[in-house]
């Protein structure tokens, strides 16, 4: 939409005064001589308008400002992300013009579904963006109103198979329930949905008793006092849900941590100087106060373990290995 872009740019500049970040000197000094000569693609493997897509677009906007490059967000959808992941790992040219804006769900895809075609080593993580933790949400009306997570789990233990919880099969929504059941001996009735949001909607309609979702997915209902988060699967309590205890606090466990970690990757083999430049761009953008505010609006938070760019890649690798260990322990991976 170049035509429309330029026209709107003119109107916007006149009509509004927006806080624009300047090109960062740290980024500029890392810029390779012949790069980039065309627009850089930020590949998103989920549909436009979703949480991942919005994050990528906001990131792209600020990355453009700190680097002066042109960035285009492209959605390569299909197979719950599998099509896009496969494209990035096997087909995208490692020339620095393709950056994948992914979630840590790519680890599961690589380990469980990539088979012989590709693995995590085909992708190189270059930057950490933000995180979103999974939370248990209960309705403020109905049979479980006002109950705590511990009480509900007790009910699931006393009357196995009667407490209905919304899950997304084959993913962290299901693994969380696996762990709770293993740790407490409770048994839930798992109703499958395609995402966290449909589960929250079902909760509102009384079709499930517990929904599992991210803050951004239930925030509007929380504000209308229709739902309440009762536990969160993060390592420590979150800023936007200060009085919601973590699962580890409630159940005395150490490993019930399930969150979406958004990160940037490039295909293996991307030249080192371009890789460093792309990483610096994204890191600089993420540290802009305006973008941090936008992320907070979307409900995301910044994991303190990952804020140091020098160590972020190594930390993420550790987390990927921990996830692999979980798969081996639960028999999903040999």
């Amino acid at each position: 939409m170049k035509l429309i872009h330029s026209f709107i740019g003119a109107i916007a500049a006149v009509a509004t005064a927006t806080a624009v970040a300047q090109v960062s000197p740290n980024v500029a000094k890392l810029k390779p001589k012949d790069f980039p000569t065309q627009s850089i693609e930020y590949t998103v493997v989920y549909p436009a308008g979703g949480g991942m897509d919005l994050t990528a677009r906001q990131l792209g906007k600020f990355a453009e400002q700190v680097s002066g490059d042109k960035i285009l967000v492209n959605n390569r959808t299909g197979g719950a992300g599998m099509v896009g992941h496969t494209y990035l790992a096997t087909q995208a040219k490692p020339d620095g013009y393709t950056v994948g804006i992914l979630a840590n769900l790519v680890w599961g895809d690589a380990m469980l579904r990539g088979k012989d075609k590709w693995s995590l080593s085909n992708l190189e993580t270059i930057a950490y963006i933000n995180s979103d933790a999974l939370a248990w949400v209960a309705a403020t009306k109905g049979p479980f109103a006002g109950k705590s997570a511990k009480e509900i789990v007790q009910t699931a233990k006393d009357k196995p198979g009667t407490v209905r919880v919304a899950i997304v099969p084959g993913s962290m929504w299901e693994y969380l329930i696996d762990q709770i059941e293993a740790a407490t001996g409770a048994k839930f009735l798992r109703v499958p949905f395609q995402g966290g949001k449909p589960g929250v909607v079902a909760l509102l309609g009384g079709n499930v008793d517990i929904a599992q979702g991210f803050y951004g997915e239930f925030e509007s209902y929380l504000q209308a006092d229709q739902v309440k988060p009762i536990a969160v699967a993060s390592a420590s309590r979150l800023g936007n849900m200060k009085d919601v205890a973590t699962f580890n606090e409630i159940f005395g466990t150490k490993d019930i941590v399930w969150n979406i970690i958004r990160l940037a990757v490039v295909p293996k083999g991307t030249p080192a100087d371009r890789k460093a430049y792309l990483a610096a761009t994204i890191n600089a953008a993420v540290r802009t106060p305006a973008l941090a505010a936008e992320f907070a609006k979307l409900g995301a938070y910044t994991d303190p373990l990952l804020t140091n760019p020098a160590t972020a890649a190594a930390e993420l690798d550790k987390m990927a290995q921990a996830e692999r260990a979980f798969y081996v322990k639960t028999g999903r991976l040999k």
Binding site: A48, L54, G78, G205
Partner: protein
């Protein structure tokens, strides 16, 4: 704040040059996108989403909404003129619309489509204005059992659409179902029929099916003979619908509006479902149903009204509950979130200016679209006069780009080619495509809601009897199904199956 005051506030918010300009721009882009086969509102919204970041909320959202319902106006154009649907929601319009064009009544078909879209759009907006909170609770009450009931109703409606051989029709329905199961099973994550190809993991792209089955097969059919002249040999008889056309159309428009609005409101519905259920309804109610498929104007008026009304219906769960019913409204949700707004129960009370401003822009947008589309009818009809061999490359390339626009994946083009060849052969052997397409659209939700209901239910199948709405819907479906078979028996005692 009550509705009238809200609407007044909305119009006052809307009437700035910027907001009006972008409402108009959205209508224009929507019409363009609707007319071009393949590229639909979803692609256009995805492309224009970043633009809205820099705009004022009412301008940005007004533009995106205008693209959505604008596409419903434009989608009928290629359906009617060249039998290539611009949109999945306009497939049904091609059935009678193109037949009318062949009889020289293209202008009438286009006119009825445009005006029906306008009337439906406006009526459904009035319902949205006054009944949003009430209707929101309807949307929420649809859980898996109710969704299943609705899908069964849709499936039974498909039986009514079968014109020729019933066996071939049922076969196409089964094939459509089967095609929909290709891909990852959403309930347990298992791969089905993916032939070890990662491109099929997400299922078959509907755009490839629509463009291949309808569009490419049409192109191939036209290629058989050297079409020296124009696409349509018949002289165009007048650009305006006749009084007889009006008389026949107004009731289908009304029915289509209400039906479409309801079907847009509930989850699992949407403009596509609305269009073909409306077609079925009109065929069922018509005095001479054999006219359908041969230029019955009710078959254009009803579905075109329905698909527009479904757009407004879909806005209600979006704005009042933050629930998107389909991929397009999910994108609109994203646009709202980016603006710092969380649509949901508190949206109307917290941001009345934004809500009513967008509603006002939808009223105005519908007017823009009517003013845009009616004069264009003359232009489109003139396009038909262009020699075919000039249009031919454009049509071919449009089919390719339109299909590619869905996932930017070359694999979809192969699927489109495959469906094109199959479609060509099946046309010669008198198979109908609509049952296939409708089954393809309905199957995922039908299967998912059945399996969800079975998991949820402590008593197995009895959950459908325990929940009143679901029981009603299934009951109606059973009655309709019986009526279909009874009607067949009465019509053809010899038994032409």
């Amino acid at each position: 704040m009550d509705a009238i005051n809200g609407l007044a506030m909305g119009f006052s918010v809307l009437f700035t040059p910027e907001n009006l300009y972008f409402c108009f721009l959205g209508s224009l882009v929507g019409t363009l996108v609707g007319v071009l086969p393949g590229i639909g509102p979803l692609a256009a919204l995805a492309l224009l989403l970043p633009v809205t970041f820099q705009l004022a909320p009412v301008a940005g959202l007004g533009m995106l909404c205008a693209i959505f319902y604008g596409a419903m106006y434009g989608g009928s154009t290629t359906s009617i003129l060249v039998n290539i649907p611009g949109e999945a929601a306009s497939v049904v319009t091609a059935l009678d619309g193109h037949a009318m064009a062949r009889q020289g009544r293209a202008g009438s078909a286009l006119g009825i489509a445009a005006i029906g879209s306008f009337i439906a759009g406006t009526i459904s907006l009035v319902a949205l204005t006054f009944f949003s909170p009430l209707l929101a609770s309807v949307a929420i009450s649809f859980g898996p059992p109710e969704n299943f009931g609705l899908m069964v109703l849709g499936l039974v409606s498909t039986l009514y659409m079968i014109g020729g051989s019933k066996v071939k029709g049922v076969l196409m329905i089964a094939l459509g179902f089967l095609a929909a199961t290709v891909g990852m099973d959403i309930v347990n994550g298992q791969d089905r029929f993916t032939l070890n190809n990662v491109n099929l993991a997400g299922g078959i792209e509907i755009l490839s099916v629509v463009i291949g089955l309808y569009g490419l097969s049409e192109i191939l059919t036209n290629c058989e003979t050297i079409v020296k002249n124009q696409l349509l040999a018949e002289k165009i008889r007048g650009l305006w619908p006749s009084f007889k056309d009006w008389k026949a159309s107004w009731k289908p428009m009304m029915r289509g509006s209400f039906l479409g609005f309801f079907l847009g409101l509930v989850p699992g519905g949407g403009p596509v479902t609305a269009s073909f259920v409306s077609y079925t309804l009109e065929k069922r109610l018509a005095k001479n149903p054999e006219r359908f498929g041969n230029g019955a104007i009710e078959g254009v008026a009803g579905p075109e009204a329905a698909n527009n009304a479904a757009v407004s219906g879909g806005m209600i769960p979006l704005f009042t509950l933050g629930i998107p019913g389909n991929a397009v409204t999910a994108l609109l949700l994203g646009a709202l979130v980016i603006q710092g707004v969380q649509p949901g129960p508190t949206f109307i009370t917290q941001r009345p200016d934004l809500f009513w401003g967008v509603v006002a822009s939808m009223y105005v947008g519908n007017v823009f679209l009517l003013l845009l589309n009616l004069p264009l009818i003359g232009l489109w009809v003139q396009c038909l006069r262009v020699p075919y061999r000039v249009l031919f490359p454009l049509i071919l390339l449009l089919a390719i780009v339109g299909t590619y626009s869905a996932n930017k994946n070359v694999f979809d083009l192969w699927v489109m080619l495959g469906f094109g060849v199959v479609g060509y052969i099946l046309r010669k052997l008198q198979y109908e495509f609509s049952p296939f397409l409708i089954a393809f659209v309905l199957a995922p939700m039908l299967e998912q809601s059945l399996r969800q209901s079975m998991v949820m239910s402590p008593h197995g199948m009895f959950i459908f009897a325990e929940r009143p709405i679901a029981a009603c819907l299934i009951g109606i479906s059973l009655i309709l199904a019986v009526l279909v078979f009874r009607q067949r028996k009465l019509n053809q005692p010899g038994g032409d199956i």
